[in-house]
Symmetry: C2
């Protein structure tokens, strides 16, 4: 029988830490009714004890040295919310080594340095729980490793960054340019002063690596994941896409193709009738296709103190209940590395926009290059616009991305065939 | 250490049983990789052994007597897929009494006679797992009892019956009447020859009672749940609703109001911009509002051999992994009965459509009755139509349903004020 009280050491009292503390306080009776145990934060590790905090945690001692957590035999669980991949790695490693369960929201840590940590947790039979690391309050980790565990997962498509989605939503709804939409997101607190990790896809990439691990049982090296952000998306492409029934979203995409994993993070056109296309503002969603379950979608808030705190609290409660650890969703915690499908071999439809000179034969020349590369066109639009030249948009039939890349290089190599860089998106 | 093989006794080899058998066969290696144990169907209980089956289960013996499952010490788990509330009750009770875990998809059984079964499972420390009983492959049970366990659930709104949703979708998209849409659903295999349980809300009601138990920790007696179906919905109300930005869906709704549970199953107007309003065809979805997580929505296939089989298989795999049983989501398996808010006290906006005689003063008389009952009108539309009289539609501000019911009675009691029964929907 487990002892009655579950004792936490909390590392980090920022946004999520404060949210967790509030939930554990406000819901104390309900948590005990659901788990049979009281949950108490005993010790809180912070960098600056003098910093004012939005929450009071009566009875908890504030410390600045991690050993106060690691060396305390009374602490059952270390909740790691300090972020980063260095001090957090050391803390999680030390906590597991000391026989403590770990709950973390740190996607960068698990995506970049997760392999030895999962191995260590597996050897020790400890939880390395991380529901909060992907899509905040949305139960995507639990769903992949428990509820859909009997499925061969065929495809994942996720909107995993609320900042990027807010920006694209405002560009779509209000016709804003990227810079104006970013400024608005910053003014509303949806984007940080340095928004790089959010808008350039890095944050989404971390999350996708974690989802690939759970869905396909493969370790996918971050460095090999193709990642593009939304800073190059133009309102003109959003408008063209809309005209043909598509919405542009920053998509984290992964699928299994003949035993290989095809994955990437990039803005893509998705059909406007997909529920995923209606996921707007700072919300997140993940669409999963399983061989048995078919299509499933989970939707909710991907960030914020309380939604992410809700996910951390769920992990803590699973430990309180004495659930068997199931960190990777597989018996082995040491998953094989993914056999990666080169993006050039990935097959899909494509959207291409060219700014071409207004002269006879341009369409013939461009479509000739496409045909030479085996690319068949499904829809073509030629449009006048205010600037010089003519806007020409191709929607292709399915073809490998490599053929499109080669055609783009061939077109850009020809003098006077394009007046600006070619805009290119996959259609998913 | 658990023994290596998990042995199942399967009761019922219909749609879901066949789906489960196919999944356990096709995914055998993956299931072992994820749980560490092989899962084998040893014995299958059927009514008619001569009936042809869509699947072959090599090595399994077909029996017609439940004692072959109950009395076999090798069987760890009884999977109950026979349906109904009599033989299924006896089987589940006997299996638990014999110390076997139970996995079931039987919403009627658990909604109507679940209380003693949950109590027995709790006493014995056994699983009475039932992910498949609500919304097929959508992991709503797991989400409520595990992932959102730290939340105070404020509200649930679900589309839980694919047949009713298909019918309403076709009425909305194609302007069909109920009878034509039902005939189409039957022709496509989405509705049974006797569609009563699906279209009149009974199936949805069973599911809602189970969700109330998990979300609010309260046992809600089926007999006290207000239930309406979709057979009285008219294309005219769907069109009026659409004009004002609403979609009509058969909604399972529950929320906590001052410690009481307000719940019901009925067609209602929901804002067209809700993601729930875009859940079309035979798909299901559940929208949950939690105090910490905010809004979460889960979407997917609510029925069918493989989606429901996927949920049954997930429960079986949780048992194989040795997860602690968590059947009700609470330590006590004997939940208190819900304190029920009378529907007349439930506050919301309302939609009312009257067919009135085309004479001076009718609008004054009708709106006078509304005012007398303290009901304030937000929008009013008066429309000519092909038939006799005039169509008059009221959208009210928030008020208790009791006031609306009283006003309707007062109006219908007045001679010559209405030419047809008043159509009334809540707006959620």
């Amino acid at each position: 029988m487990a002892k009655r009280e579950l004792v936490l050491g909390l590392a980090g009292l920022g946004t999520v830490g404060s949210g967790l503390a509030r939930i554990l306080h406000d819901r104390a009776a309900a948590i005990e009714a659901r788990t049979g145990r009281a949950v108490r934060i005993k010790t809180i590790l912070v960098r600056d004890p003098a910093k004012p905090r939005p929450v009071e945690i009566p009875g908890a001692s504030i410390v600045t040295d991690a050993s106060a957590l690691i060396d305390d035999p009374e602490i059952d669980v270390v909740v790691e919310l300090i972020g980063g991949t260095t001090a957090a790695y050391d803390l999680v490693h030390a906590a597991l080594s000391a026989g403590k369960h770990v709950v973390t929201a740190n996607k960068a840590l698990l995506a970049e340095r997760g392999v030895p940590l999962f191995r260590l947790a597996g050897e020790k039979g400890l939880h390395l729980a991380h529901e909060a690391s992907v899509a905040g309050g949305i139960p995507i980790i639990e769903t992949l490793k428990e509820s859909l565990a009997a499925n061969r997962i065929e495809k994942i498509m996720g909107i995993l960054n609320g900042t990027a989605n807010y920006i694209l939503t405002r560009m779509t709804e209000a016709g804003l340019g990227f810079d104006a939409a970013l400024a608005e997101a910053q003014a509303r607190g949806y984007a940080e002063a340095d928004p790089t990790l959010d808008v350039e896809g890095g944050d989404t990439a971390h999350k996708l690596v974690l989802l690939i691990r759970l869905a396909f049982g493969r370790s996918y090296p971050m460095a090999r994941l193709p990642v593009w952000g939304v800073s190059q998306v133009s309102p003109m492409d959003i408008a063209h896409a809309a005209e043909f029934g598509y919405t542009i979203k920053l998509i984290a995409q992964a699928r299994e193709v003949g035993g290989k994993i095809e994955a990437g993070v990039y803005p893509a056109l998705i059909p406007a009738h997909y529920l995923l296309a209606s996921v707007n503002g700072s919300f997140n969603a993940v669409r999963i296709e399983g061989d048995a379950v078919g299509q499933v979608m989970l939707y909710g808030r991907g960030a914020g103190d309380m939604p992410t705190g809700s996910a951390v609290a769920a992990d803590v409660m699973a430990i309180a209940r004495g659930r068997a650890a199931n960190n990777t969703g597989f018996v082995t915690q040491d998953l094989p590395e993914a056999d990666i499908l080169d993006l050039d071999e990935a097959v899909s439809c494509h959207y291409l926009r060219f700014l071409v000179p207004d002269r006879t034969g341009v369409l013939r020349d461009l479509s000739g290059v496409m045909a030479d590369h085996g690319i068949s066109l499904e829809q073509v639009v030629q449009k006048k616009w205010d600037g010089p030249g003519v806007q020409l948009v191709f929607f292709t039939h399915e073809c490998p991305a490599g053929a499109v890349h080669a055609a783009m290089r061939a077109i850009e190599a020809q003098r006077d065939l394009t007046l600006a860089p070619i805009m290119h998106y996959r259609i998913l």
